[in-house]
């Protein structure tokens, strides 16, 4: 294997692949990046056996071949190299030289055969999606996944693929984010997948928004690819809870709030809120939204902002960090809350949103008495 590559191209490829390389691993070869040179260019791949990323970049290939090189060292070297063409050549099965101008390195790697094979994925039965659509779905929902291990199914984002619709749902049981985007997929495009959010992060990093992404299915895998890059991931198995059933349909109190002022009020209140519950009491009245925090051992806080509110006045407690997170991903400056009672789920939706899809977040209140 011998090729010459522009330093920027090499760096770009390594930045994309490096996040897929595990920091600690029991399998030494996983700390390496697989480098494969062919007539089309050079492909760099990294995986932790759950999520795999590979990127192809143009290069001047003199002799095709493959081997694996340590990801961390290769990345650090590349970052420090002068802006000149980089020449990489294999010395046998597990060593390589790297030359750039007057800089020379010899690196120890591992043979290509030791690198695990990627799970087979079938693209023919898959479908194609615009990258920007995926980006938006992911960024507006993935934040809501659970990080607790007690309900592993909630550690993933539910992705529902229908002929006319893409829907992503994520929840940790206390708050939920759901987004739908219209889509024109082929007939028979259908499937529910529970995808680890880490894989979706990679999708967002690796594919630029304007690209068209092909999506393929494996036995228990899902893969995304463009002509130059691919991300594949193991799926989380199991039945996702019935999210549709918990979305309230009969909420009859509404509030429209200015998002920036709500966010800053909540952040102020959160300072004196309990470290465990982050509880802030919100009191909705016709024109005024009052905030109250009372935390034994810490202190108290009060604040108020204007609000357009319809319905009987309402006192309701929330975990301020859940509200703040939801508000961060709301696309509009004004948001609409709906409530039923202080014990039922509240919904948050963007007000006057120009987007084509549907976006709704749910948050369960905190009990006010304890």
């Amino acid at each position: 294997m011998r090729f010459t590559i522009a330093r920027e191209k090499l760096q770009e490829a390594l930045t994309n692949v490096a996040p897929a390389v595990p920091a600690k691993t029991t399998l030494p070869v996983l700390a390496n990046i697989l480098v494969e040179a062919s007539e089309r260019g050079v492909r760099f791949s990294g995986t932790d056996l759950d999520v795999a990323v590979s990127v192809e970049v143009p290069a001047d290939v003199e002799m095709p071949g493959a081997l694996t090189l340590p990801a961390k060292r290769l990345g650090e070297i590349t970052r420090e190299l002068p802006p000149a063409p980089v020449k990489i050549a294999a010395l046998g099965e597990q060593r390589a030289t790297l030359e750039c101008g007057r800089t020379k390195f010899k690196l120890l790697g591992l043979p290509r055969d030791e690198y695990p094979a990627f799970a087979p994925v079938e693209y023919n039965t898959g479908w194609r999606v615009k990258s920007s659509v995926l980006h938006e779905l992911i960024s507006r929902t993935a934040f809501a996944v659970s990080t607790e291990e007690s309900r592993p199914i909630l550690n993933g984002v539910l992705w529902e693929v229908r002929a006319q619709l893409l829907r992503m749902v994520a929840t940790n049981g206390h708050r939920l984010a759901l987004m739908e985007s219209p889509a024109e997929l082929g007939k028979g495009s259908n499937g529910d997948f529970i995808v680890p959010p880490r894989a979706l992060d990679q999708v967002r990093r690796v594919f630029p928004p304007e690209e068209e992404i092909e999506i393929g299915k494996g036995e228990n895998h899902l893969a995304f690819r463009s002509p130059i890059a691919s991300v594949s991931t193991r799926l989380i198995e199991g039945p996702y809870p019935n999210y549709d059933q918990v979305i309230p349909r009969d909420n009859d109190r509404f509030a429209v709030v200015d998002r920036p002022s709500l966010v800053s009020a909540l952040r102020r209140m959160a300072v004196v809120a309990s470290d465990q519950t982050h509880r802030v009491k919100l009191s909705f009245n016709t024109a005024l939204l009052k905030f109250t925090v009372q935390t034994p051992d810490v202190g108290e806080g009060q604040d108020e902002i204007p609000v357009q509110y319809t319905g009987d006045s309402l006192d309701i407690g929330f975990n301020s960090s859940y509200l703040l997170e939801i508000l961060r991903y709301m696309p509009t400056d004004e948001v609409r809350f709906t409530f039923k009672t202080a014990e039922r789920a509240a919904t948050v939706i963007p007000e006057n949103w120009a987007g084509a899809g549907k976006y709704v977040c749910l948050v369960m209140p905190l009990r006010l008495v304890d």
Partner: protein, 465 residues
């Protein structure tokens, strides 16, 4: 009474504070809230079932007696679990619905709690209490009265077939009869291990944990089977802690006391000893008769087995209660097969393998002779306690009888060196070899030693010399 319940309760508490130790008051009575006053009945909410039971038994009477002083009229205090404090502060999108569902099934009928696999015959009524098991039985009665309180865990040990499982299940029966909604589980340590292994294979350890850590009553039989199973012990350790901290009752049985179970982690052993460790010994003669009578009565056989037959069986069958019961069953079967009434002669014939004719009863019987009987006989002859023989102590007073007991174990039982070592406090087989040499030498050289040894041999059951 036109006072608000809160006012009534705070006046009562004011009075009670003077009567009750400060820390007790703060632990049990302060975190309460008056809920309702109906007539002269005051309902007070407490955080959990344990405090409800505790307050009910320890403080309710005092509070009731204080009522006329504090309020000028009688008032009865009743403790209930605060339904609000049982809920978490953060409400859950998915759990909420299922919580309602379980609540409604609970109110629909108490049958919601899964029934553990208990033997219907093992109840307290059929358990015959005698000298050998009265400690264990009274501990069990106390547990049945107030699970999770004084004797937690209850650890019952004793050799096979003398009623450990019976007693343990009897407690469960008693608790379930009183509170049918109790979530109880009975299983052997072996089964616990298997289920844990299966849950690892099926990747359902989460369900496994939930199943066991949300119990009110956990019965584990033959806990010594956990020996050497490290991962299971780890799991059991956490299960134990979860239950113990939640004030749930745990009952364990084993064939030996916690400290003598080999291959069990020290942290588990100490936990086993936290509560009550009670042993069941071999029943004595009178007790055996009582057991046989009770057994005959249970099976409605009182007319067919005469007393002298019961005496015969009780005299000869000494190893376990299970064997006693086995004799009765065999005898009845034999009698009905022959269509003859039960007599002493018939019993001797039917139970040939167990009852030796009187002539040979003094001969070596083999049954009932074990290292532990030798230990107690030797201990008696030397005037030391049997537990000293298995202790770590190496003082002369203990070491000599220990060597003697090892010698008898070797010569009478032909026991393996390693087994002897184990039975004498986990000693090495080379220690046993040395002890045997030493004892043989003493027997030849020391007249007094030889006499005591002879004395010990005479003490052995059925004169096994």
């Amino acid at each position: 009474m036109d006072l608000a319940p809160q006012e009534v309760w705070s006046r009562l508490l004011e009075c009670a504070r003077r009567e009750i130790a400060e820390h007790t008051f703060r632990t049990w009575l302060e975190p309460t809230q008056a809920v309702e006053l109906r007539g002269d009945k005051l309902t007070v909410a407490v955080p959990d079932q344990f405090s409800a039971d505790w307050n009910e038994s320890k403080h309710a009477a005092l509070l009731t007696s204080l009522a006329p002083i504090a309020l000028g009229q009688p008032c009865q205090v009743e403790f209930v679990v605060d339904s609000r404090s049982r809920q978490r502060v953060q409400m859950d999108l998915f759990v909420e619905k299922s919580a309602h569902a379980t609540q409604s099934t609970k109110t629909n009928g108490a049958m919601a709690a899964p029934r553990p696999l208990l033997n219907a015959k093992y109840t307290l009524d059929t358990f015959v209490i005698g000298k050998s098991n009265e400690l264990a039985a009274s501990a069990a009665l106390a547990v049945a009265e107030a699970p999770g309180r004084d004797f937690n865990p209850l650890f019952i040990y004793g050799s096979t077939g003398i009623g450990k499982t019976h007693l343990m299940q009897a407690v469960a029966h008693a608790i379930l009869a009183r509170k049918p909604a109790t979530r109880a589980a009975y299983l052997g340590a072996e089964q616990f291990t298997n289920e844990y292994v299966m849950s690892i294979q099926a990747r359902t350890t989460h369900d496994f944990r939930r199943r066991f850590r949300e119990l009110d009553l956990l019965l584990i039989d033959d806990v010594h089977f956990l020996k050497g199973k490290e991962a299971t012990q780890e799991e059991f350790f956490h299960t134990f802690n979860a239950l113990y901290e939640g004030g749930r009752q745990i009952i364990l049985t084993s064939d030996r006391p916690p400290s003598e179970i080999p291959g069990i982690e020290a942290r588990l052993v100490t936990r086993f000893q936290w509560g009550m460790v009670a042993d069941i010994e071999f029943p004595d003669f009178e007790h055996r008769i009582a057991i046989l009578r009770s057994k005959a009565q249970q099976d409605h056989l009182q007319h067919t087995i005469p007393d002298d037959v019961l005496h015969l069986i009780a005299e000869h069958v000494r190893s376990s209660v299970r064997e006693l019961e086995g004799c009765i069953i065999k005898l009845i079967a034999f009698a009905s097969l022959r269509q003859q009434p039960v007599t002493v002669d018939l019993a001797i014939e039917a139970l040939r393998d167990r009852i030796k004719p009187t002539a040979s009863a003094s001969g070596s019987d083999g049954r009932g002779l074990s290292i532990s009987t030798i230990q107690s006989a030797v201990a008696k002859a030397w005037g030391v306690s049997a537990s000293a023989l298995t202790s770590k102590s190496r003082t002369r007073e203990v070491a000599v009888p220990r060597q003697a007991a090892m010698l008898l174990s070797r010569e009478l039982l032909n026991a393996h060196l390693a087994d002897i070592g184990n039975a004498f406090g986990g000693r090495d087989h080379s220690t046993v070899i040395h002890s045997l040499e030493r004892a043989r030498y003493l027997r030849a050289a020391d007249q007094e030693f030889a006499e005591r040894l002879q004395l010990a041999v005479l003490e052995l059951p059925a004169g096994a010399a």
